[in-house]
């Protein structure tokens, strides 16, 4: 019984390869729990030892089976989940905290079997628990569910992640899906997408977190309702994000090519996420916005809504999942080259994601109240730029992620201000 990698898993492995080649660090991210109390290092370490012992799959690594399919090979060596402890004085601020989380995230894992690393920061009477995770092992919602499992949450299991068939069947469906994906992609990726340059080499990611309290989050929801329509929150905040970054691109006087924005989506209900915590189950939308459209919020919004409708109509997210199985035969350097050729060197203008229904459903972690959950995703280079939103207990968080050296201090401040002005 093997855990074969799906086509989407293999694309994530290709992004990891590309990121590793460019920066020396894989495609990683960090999810942070803000806790209203003291989380004992000893108790947490004990729990980490139990999880490490119980689930050797988290120390696995990719390999190829005799049928040439890539699969996740379980490690036979006992692994260790490392926990690093940091102390900040009560006079320290959020920037000090972010400095530690960013520094830790910008370091590579210690070996090929390490995919998770924990940072516990004490700041005054509060504790912050950050989990750095390898995207090849899990995605953002999976990471939230994994923290739920670590915290002793009920109904969570890694069982659904232990086995995946090889999917070496239904070839006609896969080729049909490939044709559909190719048709849409050729249409969307015509010409080089607009991107910030020069792209820095071999450096880390930095982050700005904008937390909206309940009242401000509710204001954004109301604005989305009145301006974009019922249940159009994601298109609304994506359109706002395009508008904010468009100002920066315009002031840099970058050639007026179209914007290309990949948006990762996970269509699974939360029940399923809690059973299939590991590996990748997401798919993508791909939005193309012209520079003329980007001058007007209404034009961006209407284009985003129309493209989303059309991509769902041709079942693009499902077709990407199906067609990507065909790519598994190719080695990672080859996939990396193909993606580069398809996008003429610039894979995208920036990345965007919105985790609407988070998979961390409890309001406590090891009996300590959770005040907030936010994500710090490193965006692969290029484009090394992204805006991400998540929600926890009715509060909205926005994370602006950028490669060090890509933006000036003034540009960073203006993007942060733009996001802040959403409410």
């Amino acid at each position: 019984m093997k855990r074969y990698l799906t086509g989407i898993d293999w694309i994530i492995h290709a992004l990891d390869y590309s990121s590793r080649k460019k920066t020396g660090i894989g495609n990683t991210s960090q999810v942070v729990l803000e806790l209203d109390g003291f989380l004992s290092e000893e108790v947490l370490n004990e729990r980490l030892k139990i999880i490490a012992c119980e689930f050797p799959i988290i120390f696995g690594y990719p390999s190829r089976a005799i049928n040439l399919c890539p699969y996740w090979k379980n490690s036979h060596k006992q692994g260790e989940l490392r926990l690093k402890l940091h102390r900040l004085s009560s006079g320290s601020d959020f920037n000090d905290l972010m400095r530690i989380f960013s520094e830790e995230l910008n370091k590579p894992f210690s070996n090929q079997r390490e995919h998770l690393l924990f940072n516990l920061i004490y700041q005054g009477k509060r504790s912050f628990l950050g989990m750095i995770f390898d995207h090849r092992l899990m995605e953002a919602r999976g990471a939230e569910a994994f923290l739920g499992l670590l915290g002793g949450g009920r109904g969570l299991s890694l069982g659904g992640s232990l086995y995946e068939p090889s999917h070496l069947n239904n070839w006609l469906d896969k080729f049909r899906a490939g044709r559909e994906v190719n048709r849409v992609f050729l249409n969307l990726t015509e010409g080089r997408p607009r991107a910030l340059e020069p792209v820095p080499d071999g450096v880390g990611s930095e982050f700005k977190i904008i937390n909206f309290n309940q009242e401000r989050s509710s204001n954004i929801t109301q604005d989305a309702l009145s301006q974009a329509g019922y249940l159009m929150f994601m298109p609304y905040i994506l359109s706002k994000s395009i508008m904010i970054l468009h100002q920066i691109f315009e002031e840099r006087k970058i050639l007026p090519q179209d914007y290309l924005i990949p948006v990762s989506i996970d269509t699974r209900p939360n029940d399923l996420v809690r059973k299939e915590i590991l590996f990748n189950h997401l798919s993508f939308f791909l939005f193309r916005i012209t520079v003329q459209e980007a001058d007007s919020f209404q034009l961006i919004l209407s284009s985003v809504k129309e493209q989303m409708y059309n991509q769902i109509k041709v079942r693009l997210p499902q077709a990407i999942k199906e067609a990507s199985f065909l790519m598994r035969i190719a080695p990672l350097p080859l996939i990396n080259s193909i993606l580069k050729i398809m996008s003429k060197g610039n894979t995208a203008s920036f990345s965007f994601a919105f985790v609407g229904e988070g998979a961390y459903v409890s309001n406590s972690f090891m009996q300590i109240p959770v005040k907030n959950i936010f994500h710090l995703p490193r965006v692969p280079l290029p484009p090394g730029l992204g805006i991400f939103f998540n929600q926890y207990q009715g509060n909205l968080n926005a994370v602006f992620s950028y490669a060090h050296g890509l933006l000036s201090e003034d540009e960073i401040a203006r993007v942060s201000l733009g996001i802040n002005s959403l409410a």
Binding site: L231, M232, M234, I265, P269, M308, I312, E357
Partner: protein, 81 residues
């Protein structure tokens, strides 16, 4: 087509989209309370276009028409009626 039949078709499709039993989908509950988000909502609109041959996004109906399965069914019934 009768209102009840339209409501039934919408309910069955939404249960597939959200992976929840059709009996849990009460027609009077607002869609966002059933767990519908932007993505699943557009999936439902695409189903309506294919099944009933109407584009609700372009038909000028109000926000209230989208609010529940019942109001959506009533609206489709009025347009196709």
């Amino acid at each position: 087509m009768k209102l009840k039949d339209i409501e039934g078709k919408l309910g069955r499709q939404l249960s597939i989209i959200l992976s929840i039993p059709v009996v849990d989908l009460k027609p009077e509950i607002p869609l966002h309370e059933l767990g519908v988000d932007s993505l699943s909502f557009v999936e439902l609109l695409v189903f309506i276009e294919k099944e009933f041959k109407i584009k609700l996004m372009e038909s000028g109906i109000t926000r209230e028409d989208f609010r529940t399965l019942h109001s959506l069914a009533r609206c489709i019934n009025k347009i196709t009626g």
